[in-house]
Amino acid sequence: MKRKNLYNIITQGISDMMIIWMNELKNVVKDQGILIFFILVPLAYPILYTYIYNNEVIREVPVAAVDDNRSSMSREFLKYVDANPDTRIVTYPANMEEAKEAMMEGKIYGIIYIPDDFTKTLVKGEQANVSIFCDLSGMLYYKALITSATNSSLMMNKEIKISKMGNSTDRQDEIATAPIAYDDIALFNPQAGFASFLIPAVLILIIQQTLLLGIGLAAGTARENNRFRDLVPINRHYHGTLRIVLGKSLLYFMLYVIMSTYILVFVPKMFSLPQIGNPFTIAQFILPYLLSAIFFAMTCSVLIRHRETCMIVYIFTSVPLLFISGISWPGTAIPEFWKIVSYIFPSTFGINGFVQINNMGATIEDVSTGYKALWIQAGIYFITTFFVYRYQIIMSRRHVWRRYKEISRKKRIK
């Protein structure tokens, strides 16, 4: 008898769950607003974002050269700067004043100044100074100019040394100018590109943020359509908390398995972003990420009273969440307080783990801390979702009960 009861409860629960799943599907498909966040944004936003950063690096930053020396040596130095892919000399002003004017007009982002005693100093065998002035409105201008100037000076230095030493073979020249040679190797993002660095993080963040917005919108709609502004309707299928939570989350999960595949597999492929991770490892890692993000969004959604407020509540968090994850701003430089705050959000672990697996070819063992953290978050947020929904059910029953009592009292008075 008891076993049959349990069996009944389970089959009833599953069939209710499927009905709730179906209802939620209808809600999503019918609702233009939810479709924007569940379908349109995940489809279009990654493409737009990647397009903005797609050139990866800045090349040919326009600079001015003020050459007070006007000698073959100073011209040689400037030739190196111009030939460097990072910079391009667009103008040769007569003096610094003219160069500054060009900078104010926004025609150039840096000035290279060669003093009039450049050749004289070098020939005397002393150190000659070349000054560079750089516009700091963008760090990348600065990086381009300083790389170009440093490389040019190293090449020039090498030539000067060789001419002074009078060695007999090329090999001797090389060893004497650089007793120790060095190689610099850029790992996992060989051209130090902007899209390759930022986009994988943005992709993961888009998943969490659109889930927050979509689920928040759905919750807001559910309340607005409900007579008592409650999240959970009174309906014989909406009895058990577990079946409501599971029915809804299953729909979001299935939808986001498809969207995540597009976002995390096709978008990087389309723009040839780094993608050296094992697809199965990515899938294994994204599973707890999706679950924790869904339950996190469902927990937060009880705060949403009206459908539109969710945009105001959630959207501004996107930029802080990107920064707090440790991608834009190095994780080791994040103050302890913000680091602890960052553990609340699935995106922190999701971004780092995905970047490690996708860009750097890490295995699940390499990202085990984040992987475990996501499962723990999924568990915690499942429990919180369960309780906030349980509370909502009790509230809606109470509302209905109060209403029922009011009506029956009125009847009695009549």
Binding site: I52, I180, F197, T332
Partner: protein
């Protein structure tokens, strides 16, 4: 004339009532911007990340190589956290995100260097973390040059040169760098100055759209228009004026905070930036109003406002220069008010240039402020005929 002011005042009073009673306004007008002011400035408090974890693979392990490692550890951005027995272990540590870079010294480096057989050392930087990678690259490259220079200096000394002569020989051309406006290369100055106004702008978009759109949604637009005596201009002025005032106070706050309290460079004087802050508030309100007038559906207009506001951060060119984007984007960037704000900030606060170099962004800001003119009629018609479709 008197009655006109009276009506504007009445509408403003009505609006203040709803600002005070609805918590969503408190969030969007005060809490969200304030949170971001504090968040970004405290997150990047150090200005320039220092002591970032770096690994070492020293297969040579002589006094010379250990000295190189000690010197590297003393560099500003670098902190040597671990030594690995071989390349594979170091690579694994990078994949585990324990270090951002490592320095590799093969066996026999010292011996080869002394005997003039040019050994090769290498360093590996992980550019998946671009800021960390770029800063460490600088340290590691300088160290490699210095290691080479130390050997060269030793052999020059042996030939009888003094220290100055040796340095003159090793490095004939020296580069002096002058970073204009931000000589400390402070990342907080570089980013907070644009992100903070960007967040305020985003919240102004949303608040403006929400306050007009929710009238339509909850069906109170007719009462609102009646109270304004049927004038859309009175209705909008009365409604948006209290918001303008609060948002201007918020922009005043960040200007005082950034330039007065944190002493970020402000070469134009703070008054100019306060005026530009006012321009930002008005331009954002103008744009928000334009959106809800153009798309009189709260949900759609808010969605567009969200996307516009978030894309602003990327397309304004504060992190990745607009110059490096594709040609169509370079023009499209002007459709985002934050782009013009960024240019104004660079021109005035960062560099202290004259106003004549900033005419284009100024005109664009004024264009954004006057944008609602085009939708006044449309918005009024909507208000008269609108039926909310959930």
């Amino acid at each position: 004339m008197m009655s006109l002011f009276r009506r504007v005042y009445n509408i403003a009073k009505r609006e203040i009532f709803s600002i005070v009673t609805k918590p969503v306004y408190l969030l969007s007008m005060v809490i969200a911007p304030l949170f971001c002011y504090i968040f970004f400035t405290t997150l990047m408090w150090s200005g320039l990340p220092s002591e970032m974890p770096v690994g070492i693979v020293d297969l040579d392990n002589t006094g010379t190589t250990r000295n190189v490692i000690r010197n590297l550890d003393a560099f500003q951005h670098t902190k040597i956290v671990n030594e690995y027995p071989d390349f594979t272990h170091a690579r694994k540590a990078i994949q585990k995100n324990e270090i951002y870079a490592f320095f590799y010294i093969p066996r026999g480096t010292t011996e080869k260097a002394i005997s003039g057989r040019q050994p090769k050392i290498s360093f590996y930087t992980n550019y998946s973390y671009l800021v960390a990678g770029s800063l460490l690259y600088k340290d590691l490259r300088t160290m490699s040059e210095l290691a080479s220079g130390a050997i060269a200096r030793a052999s020059l000394r042996a030939k009888g040169a003094n220290d100055q002569q040796a340095i003159n020989f090793i490095q004939p051309v020296v580069i002096n760098t002058h970073a204009l406006g931000n000589p400390w290369l402070n990342y907080s100055i570089y980013l907070s100055n644009s992100i903070i106004p960007g967040v305020l702008m985003l919240m102004i978009f949303l608040t403006t759209i929400y306050s007009v759109g929710s009238e339509l949604k909850f069906g109170t637009q007719k009462e609102w228009l009646d109270k304004s005596g049927g004038s859309i201009i009175v209705a909008l002025t009365g409604k948006l004026l209290p918001q303008t005032f609060i948002f201007f106070l918020m922009s005043l706050l960040y200007n005082i905070y950034l330039y007065g309290y944190l002493h970020f460079p402000c070469n134009s004087g703070i008054m100019t930036m306060i005026l530009i802050g006012l321009l930002l508030v008005l331009a954002s309100q103008g744009f928000g109003l334009f959106l809800i007038g153009l798309v009189p559906s709260l949900r759609l207009a808010l969605s567009i406002g969200c996307l516009w506001g978030v894309v602003s951060f990327s397309i304004s060119g504060m992190s990745f220069p607009v110059m490096a984007m594709d040609a169509p984007l370079q023009t499209l960037a002007y459709l985002f008010p934050l782009r013009s704000y960024f240019l104004l900030y660079v021109n005035f606060a960062l560099h202290g240039y004259s106003i004549i170099y900033a005419w284009l962004p100024l005109i664009i800001m004024i264009a954004f402020i006057s944008l609602p003119i085009f939708i006044l009629k449309r918005l009024k018609n909507t208000m008269i005929n609108y039926v909310y479709i959930p």
